[in-house]
């Protein structure tokens, strides 16, 4: 039987939804599940890890791990792997996960697969599906010559189960020492948005050149507020300087996989589609019935966005607050 190590990320004192997804998947596989969580709140987070399926939790109670540093975290993973001896590591294909685990894999001379959208975990047999060629093909992939198989899952791809409030796990402490760091995080400049990041968001409202000018993004912000959504954008409006480039969806922006993506005044260029075709339901609002976005959409509205969007905001408010 295999041993699955789940690397747990947290925010605001709670484990992230993506970690809940990974713990649930590990538990369902019927293998032994160990969670690893670091930072000054590690001890509190351990309880939550147990509730989602960890039988054992390694905590690194050290405020150094409140902030990601590739060197420090590579050292933590290296020690954790030596101690826990997992056959599989599951982590999120987040900013942190994508940066850290390829380095860890190289360090351990083992394989890693990033940005996976499907996971098949049966004993030592691990296969995944992941988009390649900007989502124009799906690759089924596996490992070879790998002592531990590292899988990075895109958030929002796996189901979670209700936490088992009575579950507990054995907690073990891991102390990680590393000096002579060549990497120093000098500062973290907060983003303007308090909302979930595009890559984690469940609902996204995205705007394009059809909005005519930067100030009109107000319409989208109102729509997003009614839905609890995160606002995204096409490259055209990012390059025009209307919104910041962290909001860009597409090939040279972010790849997103929400359950609902609403594209407003976006034509649907292939590079934009590359970033959002993984959305479960796509709504397109465009005044050109021939816009390519309609070929990818689930639902389409041909109309003037300045007329449609405010009405839609009101309709959502009614539907969601009654």
């Amino acid at each position: 039987m295999g041993k699955v190590l789940v690397f747990v990320e947290s925010s605001n004192g709670k484990i992230k939804r993506s970690a809940q997804e990974l713990l649930t998947a590990a538990k369902k596989s019927g293998q032994s599940v160990t969670a690893l969580v670091g930072g000054s709140q590690a001890q509190q987070l351990a309880t939550e890890c147990a509730q989602f399926g960890a039988q054992e939790v390694f905590v690194v109670k050290d405020s150094q791990f409140d902030q990601y540093n590739p060197e420090l975290f590579t050292e933590m993973m290296s020690q954790a792997v030596a101690e826990i001896k997992p056959t599989v590591i599951l982590a999120s294909s987040s900013s942190l996960g994508k940066d850290l685990f390829p380095r860890v894999a190289a360090h351990l001379n083992t394989g890693v697969l990033s940005d996976c959208t499907e996971l098949n975990l049966q004993g030592d047999d691990v296969t995944v599906k992941r988009p390649v060629y900007s989502g124009k093909a799906m690759a089924k992939m596996g490992f070879e010559n790998s002592s531990v198989k590292i899988v990075l899952m895109r958030p929002n791809q796996l189901p979670i189960e209700a936490p088992q409030t009575s579950a507990t796990a054995a907690t073990k402490e891991l102390s990680v020492k590393k000096t002579d760091l060549k990497t120093l995080i000098k500062e973290v400049v907060k983003g303007t948005s308090e909302k979930l990041d595009l890559t984690e968001a469940n609902i996204i409202v995205s705007g394009g050149r059809g909005l005519k000018e930067a100030a009109n993004f107000k319409l989208l912000n109102e729509l997003a507020d009614a839905l609890g959504a995160t606002v995204g954008a096409s490259r055209a409006v990012v390059d025009a300087g209307w919104v910041s480039h962290g909001m860009q969806v597409g090939q040279t922006g972010k790849t997103v996989a929400p359950t609902l993506y609403i594209a407003v005044g976006i034509s649907g260029a292939i590079q934009h589609l590359a970033g959002m075709s993984g959305a479960k339901v796509i709504v397109a609002i465009n005044n050109d019935p021939n816009a390519p976005i309609f070929q990818k959409a689930t639902y389409g509205i041909v109309g003037d966005l300045f007329d449609v969007v405010p009405k839609l905001t009101e309709e959502f408010k009614k539907a969601l607050h009654h």
């Binding site: 987040s94 940066d99 296969t127 992941r130 990497t183 973290v188 040279t252 339901v281 309709e315 969601l320």
Partner: protein, 257 residues
């Protein structure tokens, strides 16, 4: 002072992808190849850095089938790179093998002050090679970089993370810096640049000859086209009717609200 840039040639973003008869790779007939878009930012940054550090040099490096990599290396030379190395290798190396080859060549050529890469190759979608190369070279790395500066021994970068936040990271050089969009505006190759690039000699190496001993750690079992979307449902009537039909459909049919 030497700067290395690792560049990959990938199918043009507009290319239609067809699965090959082996079902494990794509059918490359008729594909237009271009420099990986993120690698353009890497080349641009290195050329700017070279220009502000007289006496320094930009070396570009690509691993892959020679007939293709030399094309993209010429593009980089035309953008202003000084020297180019093509490592002839089979099509299907995995990121681990690629990084082993890149690290071996960089080491063999005497190392570099900064190694620039792209944050992601848009064909394999791995975002692995930069960090792996850094690990094999035993140097620090930062990925998703949208701001860069170099002062004596230190590299100062900004890394884009979730929620529009930025991490300001200082690394002791040498280090690997993986470029994101926003780092700069890549220049177009000028005509004199293209003419000059044509005359340059590209140094050729062979993957097997590097003796990295690296075997692949991951493999493609099969490729498939993404599932076809059912046809779009267009909502009819005036805008009020369209909007209420949409909300109803999202709630009762798609069940996403």
């Amino acid at each position: 002072m030497k700067f290395f840039v690792c560049i990959k040639q990938v199918p043009d973003t507009e290319t239609k992808i067809k699965i090959g008869s082996d079902t494990q790779s794509i059918d490359t007939t008729g594909i237009k190849w271009v420099m990986n878009p993120y690698d353009e930012y890497a080349v641009e940054e290195s050329v700017k850095l070279r220009d502000s550090n007289p006496g320094s040099q930009v070396w570009v490096l690509s691993v892959g089938p020679k007939k293709r990599t030399v094309e993209t290396l010429r593009t980089a030379l035309a953008m202003g790179a000084d020297e180019a190395i093509a490592v002839d290798a089979p099509e299907n190396l995995d990121p681990y093998q690629t990084a082993k080859a890149l690290a071996a060549v960089i080491q063999q050529e005497g190392g570099a002050k900064v190694i620039f890469t792209g944050k992601l190759a848009i064909d394999d979608n791995a975002s692995c090679v930069s960090q792996m190369t850094a690990e094999f070279l035993k140097v620090p790395h930062t990925t998703v970089v949208s701001k860069f500066s170099l002062s004596a021994e230190n590299i100062l970068v900004e890394r884009d993370v979730e929620g529009g936040a930025k991490e300001v990271v200082q690394m002791l050089a040498p280090a690997v810096v993986a470029a994101n969009k926003g780092l700069n505006m890549p220049r177009y190759a000028s005509l004199p640049g293209i003419m000059k690039a044509k005359k340059k000699v590209i140094k050729e190496l062979d993957f097997a000859g590097l003796n990295t001993g690296a075997s692949a750690k991951t493999k493609v079992l099969s490729l498939e086209l993404p599932p076809e979307k059912p046809p779009v449902k267009m909502l009819q009537g005036d805008s009020s009717a369209q909007v209420s039909a949409l909300v109803k459909a999202l709630r009762d049919e798609a069940k996403v609200l």
